[in-house]
């Protein structure tokens, strides 16, 4: 079953800006894919539709077979708990520790403190930041902050992870490390969708690439079977 299903989806904002036009694609359970295109191509809007930060003007978005248009306002929080999101500016709260930042989704979901501590530590351990749990995020480097953001996104064990320019402000080496983390989550069956305009980084990884331009689907290139070196030329750029 498709994990994420876009069926002829359009999104226009008040004022007439058309962010997405007649977009159709599917992401399968356990798949990892890049979403690429210039800024303004509609990458963020697409992710926002999956997160229900916006609603589609036309067409249908289905996640796990559920039509998001049918969710009531009260159900939206529960939908969001099943999706882990990593933001470009990581959206960490500087008034609390790294531990509390990662614990936030669990506190919201109603975990007891014992389960919560165990899970937060497992999550921080996964991104290699367990030793920083008591620090404030402001004391960490950009790459470390982004990894805290990832720890927060996965602490609830979502089956789908969305990332909006997760390597936007990072150098290639750090970017590669971040991508490795996403690959590791994908290895245990998590579906991952990463929006990025970093063509070089994408080219170095053999994953499916969904390209957008002006809100339309420009190209959809599957990962080459068994290949380690992807062909960046296979992706049309406009």
């Amino acid at each position: 079953m498709a994990h994420v299903h876009f069926d002829n989806v359009s999104k226009s904002y008040a004022g007439g800006h058309q962010a997405l036009s007649e977009l159709s694609f599917e992401i399968n359970q356990g798949e990892i894919a890049f979403l690429t295109g210039h800024s303004g191509a509609g990458k963020s809007t697409l992710l926002k539709l999956i997160m229900l930060m916006e609603k589609a003007s036309q067409g249908q978005v289905l996640v796990d077979g559920v039509n998001l248009a049918h969710l009531s306002d009260g159900q939206i929080p529960y939908h969001r708990r099943r999706v882990g999101v990593v933001f470009q500016n990581h959206q960490l709260l500087f008034d609390r520790s790294v531990f509390e930042n990662v614990a936030l989704p669990l506190r919201i979901s109603g975990y007891s403190s014992r389960d919560l501590e165990r899970r937060v530590r497992a999550s921080l351990d996964k991104v290699g930041l367990l030793r920083f749990e008591k620090k404030s995020p402001i004391e960490l480097s950009g790459g470390e902050q982004q990894r805290v953001g990832i720890a927060r996104a996965v602490v609830n064990k979502p089956s789908l992870i969305l990332a909006d320019e997760p390597t936007g402000n990072l150098d290639p080496k750090l970017s590669r490390e971040i991508m490795n983390l996403f690959e590791q989550f994908n290895d245990v069956g998590v579906s991952v969708l990463i929006a990025s305009h970093d063509v070089n980084l994408i080219a170095g990884l053999n994953h499916r690439v969904i390209a957008l331009k002006g809100g339309r689907l420009l190209g959809d290139r599957a990962a080459t079977v068994g290949g380690t070196d992807a062909q960046p030329g296979g992706l049309e750029r406009g």
Partner: protein, 326 residues
């Protein structure tokens, strides 16, 4: 510290089950945590919090001060109730035995402390004794005085309505010519107290509204300053109730603090006044005792603060949170 793999089963990238019991425990735990955090947040900026608390305290204390004053006046007037007396004049042709019977009947009415019949003869002799005009009185062909029943009501602060109702009842009885309220000023006092009571209510309503607005505005600022946090909480699946919670607790803390300070202000004020009032009472030889806040009143004062705080916060949150959409 036991490390556990985050995703333990390869295929099981799924939500683990949370039992209702642990969810409830976590819910209670989160309430405690939020309450403590909200309080700590207020104490972190002590100057501005204290200012808000004092403003709230004044708004809460003002109607309560009026209320306490009114209660004291009421207590004072209770002793005056006894001196208010109704004179029931009977028709001239009423025989003394009917007058006595009527007096006994009136004695049985509610709100009557004492009814005493004075026959025309008694009245005349009392009159002649009091005025020293016995010669003139003896010269009279007929006794011009009617029989009178003196009624001392037992109203115990029930207000002028009860007094009026009693007057009405008495005037409709058989043999009764007219009823005269001896102390009109008691009636007036009751009216003034009723006016005072309404004033207390009006003031309480106005200042209650002020408390709501003060708290609403404070919470609005707090929401603005925590905008980022609200956004993140909403994005990782926080329900509206979860987002609202810290602000409601902030409102409750403001209300509680305001109520407690109002209580302290009132108590201090009463203590400050008690000396002069006592001296005054001694001079008047009255048994009046300055009434402070009763336990119930204090509780109501503090509880009102808490409720208004909570409600004000709720209004502000309902209004402003809707605007923060992720």
């Amino acid at each position: 510290m036991a490390k556990q793999p985050l995703y333990s089963r390869v295929s099981g990238a799924r939500h683990s089950k949370i039992t209702t019991q642990s969810r409830w425990a976590a819910y209670v735990q989160h309430h405690k945590l939020t309450a403590m955090e909200s309080l700590q947040r207020l104490l972190k900026s002590p100057a501005s919090s204290a200012m808000t608390w004092v403003v709230l305290a004044i708004a809460l204390a003002l109607p309560m001060t009026l209320y306490v004053s009114l209660e004291n006046v009421k207590q004072l007037s209770r002793s005056w109730d006894q001196s208010s007396q109704l004179s029931v004049y009977l028709k001239t042709e009423t025989l003394p035995r009917f007058g006595q019977a009527l007096s006994d009947e009136i004695q049985q009415l509610p709100h009557v402390r004492l009814a005493q019949y004075t026959s025309p003869e008694q009245a005349l002799s009392e009159f002649s004794a009091a005025t020293g005009l016995s010669d003139v009185v003896h010269g009279l062909e007929d006794n011009p005085l009617p029989g009178v029943i003196s009624v001392i009501p037992n109203l115990d602060g029930m207000g002028s309505d009860a007094l009026q109702a009693l007057e009405q009842t008495l005037s409709q009885l058989r043999h009764v010519e007219s009823v005269q309220l001896d102390l009109l000023w008691v009636k007036r006092l009751f009216q003034f107290m009723e006016l005072g009571q309404r004033l207390v209510w009006a003031l309480a309503a106005l200042l209650g509204l002020a408390v709501l607005l003060i708290i609403g505005n404070t919470i609005r600022l707090s929401i603005e300053s925590r905008r980022d946090e609200i956004l993140v909480v909403k994005l990782v699946g926080g329900t509206d109730a979860f987002v609202r919670r810290p602000f409601l607790y902030t409102g409750i803390w403001f209300g509680l603090g305001g109520g407690l300070i109002a209580y302290a202000l009132l108590s201090a004020g009463l203590y400050w006044l008690s000396g002069p009032v006592e001296n005054l009472i001694v001079l008047y030889g009255s048994d009046f005792v300055l009434q402070g806040l009763s336990f119930g009143d204090s509780l109501i004062l503090i509880l009102d603060g808490v409720l208004l705080g909570w409600f004000g916060a709720w209004l502000a949150v309902a209004r402003h949170l809707a605007k923060i959409k992720p």
